[in-house]
Amino acid sequence: MIKNYLKVALRNLGKRRGFTFINVLGLAVGIASCLLIAAYVLHELSYDKYHEKSERIYRVTQTTQTSSKNESGATTPFPVAPTLQSDFPGQIEKTVRFFDMQEEVRTIINAQTEESFRVDHFYVVDSTFFDVFSADLVRGNPQTALDDPMSAVVTEEQARRFFGDENPIGKQVTFKGVKDFTITGVMKALPKTSHFQVDMLVSFNSLPELYGTREFMERWFWNPCWTYVLLKDGTIPQELEVQLAGFVDKNYADREEGETITLSLQSLTDIHLYSNLDQEMEANGSIFYVYLFTAVAALILVIAAINFMNLSTARATERAREVGMRKVLGAQRKQLFGQFMGESMLMTGLAYVAALFLVYLSFPWFNKLLGISLGVEGLYSWKITAGLLILFFVVALLSGLYPALYLSGFNPTSIMHGSKGTQGEAREKLLRKGLVVFQFTLSVVLIIGTVIVYLQLQHLQNKKVGFDKEQVVVMPITQTLIAWEFDQFKEKALKSSHIIGLTGMSKVLGSESQFYSKYSPANQSDAPPTNMTLHVKHDFLEIYNIQLLAGRSFSRDYPADAENTILINKSMLNQIDAETPRDALGTRFYYTTAEDEREPFEVIGVVDDFNYTSIKKKISPLVINLVKEGRPTVRNIEFATAKLAPGSIKNGIDDLRKVWKEVNHIDPFTYFFQDEKLQEIYESEKQMSSVSGFFTLLCILVACLGLFGLASYTASRRTKEIGIRKTLGATVPNIVALLSKDYLKLIVISNIIAWPVIYYLAVQWLQEFPHRIELGWNLAAIFVSVGFTTIIIGLLTVSYQSLRAALINPVESIQQG
């Protein structure tokens, strides 16, 4: 019996090739999308789960709240880890701190060959690193590798870079040309699914030697350390978290007045998808995209399954004769049901094979699109295999159940009438139309959604940042000789005709990092004790072309500028109750020194707001402070910025490199362009929007395939009617209009249903952006243009079939019917 079903199913599929093609292709695209997205989702979900103790590892995060700021950071002060360890011995087994020395440039020199290398992922960590995290040491002893001061563990790749094929253990590398580290271990690279990457780890007790003091390690104000705790078996993190309030009260002695500090525990395995704090070690993923892509994959699959349902039931009359005859010959309903289910299984099976092939072909490209590197082998796990089997039955059932029930329910007498009762058929038609509307509503929602995401990203990128970003080169200089010899560097650089100007600043404009200093308005009792501060060198406003609203810029004509003047931005006016920028001139601020002394500063100029931090964030009040010429800029100026002459990018960079080498023979010359840095901020959003755009296209493709099939079917069923109409004088356009009209109506209805849905979703999504596109007439324009686009796509899809039917010689079509 099964053999017979299989045979009939195969012959049926072979005979109706168009129908089979549409179904198999649609389902294959749906299944392939599911598999690709499943690979991505599993990859995202697997972050940090490779650590044996991952379920017991938590990161301690710190929230600092005052009336004016609310900072949620991934980092805590130095003493948090050891104090937690001693305060909660029953709950905490081990702690590990990571510290990156807050520098952009870390230069390592092979002590023997004097070759220098730039190391990206460099951390100072506690010796407990290997007890808490699962990392394989290829050489060295994990128990002792990071015990001694100035010991270092490097990855295999870095070891090869530094020393070639030689055994690196015991070899010396020079850090920034001053201090030597001894290599005590070589580790395997961490898996890609780690929320932090490591190139080189050095022992925590090297810090006093590196900085010449250990005083900063006892302070509770500066919070630069990523702190992880390994909880003892049975410790409930929520209970420990509650006790951390008391811990804060006891230990954070130098808190400001009105400042609330909260410590929280964040599960290691939640960091990648759920954490988006300040000072993350690396940019994390987002659970939003995991949900979004899962939903899109499911939608494509549903649309493909609907195609199958619609085309199968639309073809029902064609098969009514077969069903009737089989029943006349003694078939029971369940046998016929089995037969039709078999057909849908076979169809799904074919689609599966095609889908696996599609996945195989598109995998490298999909990786590139997402900027990740998944292996196809990830899809061979038992989990995926089981998932595939389940998915197979879900798809087969989803698409086959209804047609099988419907088709097997025909009366044997239908063989005489040739079709089902008119009432039943009308109901089927209505259902089919409903399903088409559902498919197109989903498609329209996806299209408009993609358009809105795209427009919002464009809006952010094109938004005026308030400063010039072209022809501007930024060089990280922290802890380099350039920081010490800034004036010499500048003087030599400006001799080049390709370099128009050079300045320095504490943070890169437009980046995520923020810098607070204890500048506060003098006469405001409720003013916050700290404000965001940008430390700059002379010519900063000029090089970035930041607009001055009142007063003057820092000037060499006033030698005391660095001692007692500041600039403020427009957003600061509120804090000092100034109506206009001019009113703010002369306002007094105090700077509170480490010794708790108050130094007065006077506002000499007000600048227009510019995006000194990420464009995603609101612009907060800002103090701009001048770092004096001649004074070593080691502490506050982390970047040098050069403005190049128009058309002189290559020559300008060459000259900068030359001057850099003259002044600094130790650190390699590194630089980036200001505009590219701004672009980087949107890299992940851009990637995600192109991925969702791609899947949207697939969605429409599959929906159109279904429409095409349905239209061709309608056209063939109405062949006789068309013939009669033509003999009665209907023209070809009349016929095309007749056949296309119904489907166009459905597309219009889909659009109208989609509008409120997408409006609601868009408003929700846009809420997260401080700078967002306004949804007004532009939204109406998007609605209308997407509506027209879908109508045109639908028309093209349908009219091909309609035209074909309309062009048939009427005699033939009458005979056919």
Binding site: N4, M325, R326, V328, L329, G330, A331, M416
Partner: protein, 229 residues
């Protein structure tokens, strides 16, 4: 074999009632060859559907092989149909996706007969219709006459006691039509009861009894000499 009493069939569509059969009393004995004649729309096919257990009457009784079947469910009717009744249609109604052999063997498949026996019986039925050389062809590859011979082979393959033929020669030219009628006649000679709907007086001539239907009623019964109603 067949006995009906006051058989009625009413179709209701969109508030229009159509009476297709209006009080049919009929008896057909085992081994008889009966023709049903009448103009289009007189209820011939409806009667045949009911006699063939494909449909239930709206009113009246119908005894098939001494069972009262007028109110049986489709499931029960299907059980009675299997193996007892064979059908031959004007448009042959072969399943396009199956070969000649597979079409003929299909009723045996649904009867749950093992494969060896199926093969033997189907081949013997095909052989009887002289279609062995076409056993692996698909219906579309055959002429109308050949298709009808396959349909007859299919109707007799399970040794049906009753064959219902709905205008079996309607789609055939006269030569092929005669051929089909001869086959049916032969089957009748071997003991199979045959009920045939036809427009053709020529074909009705093969029958021993002819029933004329008009507007859902029997208007005249003709019996050839030597036979009794």
């Amino acid at each position: 074999m067949i006995k009906t009493n006051n058989l009625k069939k009413v179709y209701t569509t969109d508030e229009v009632e159509t009476t297709a059969l209006n009080g049919i009393d009929l008896q057909i004995n085992e081994g008889e060859f009966c023709a049903i004649m009448g103009p289009s729309g007189c209820g011939k096919s409806t009667l045949l559907n009911i006699l063939g257990l494909l449909d239930n009457p709206t009113e009246g009784t119908y005894q098939f092989l001494s069972y009262e079947v007028s109110n049986k469910s489709e499931h029960e009717r299907a059980r009675l149909r299997k193996g007892n009744i064979g059908f031959v249609f004007q448009s042959f109604n072969l399943i396009d996706e199956l070969t000649v052999f597979e079409n003929v063997a299909l009723p045996l498949l649904y009867l749950g007969i093992p494969e060896d026996e199926r093969k033997e019986k189907a081949e013997s039925a095909i052989d009887r219709m002289n279609m062995m050389h076409r056993r692996n062809h698909f219906p579309q590859q055959l002429s109308g006459g050949q298709q009808q011979r396959v349909a007859i082979a299919r109707a007799v393959v399970a040794n049906a006691k009753l064959i219902l033929a709905d205008e079996p020669t309607g789609n055939l030219d006269s030569d092929h039509g005669d051929e089909v009628m001869k086959l049916l006649s032969e089957l009748n000679d071997q003991g199979t009861t045959i009920v045939m709907v036809t427009h053709s007086p020529h074909d009705a001539g093969y029958a021993e009894q002819t029933i004329n239907l008009f507007d859902g009623k029997i208007v005249q019964e003709e019996v050839e000499e030597g036979f009794h109603v």
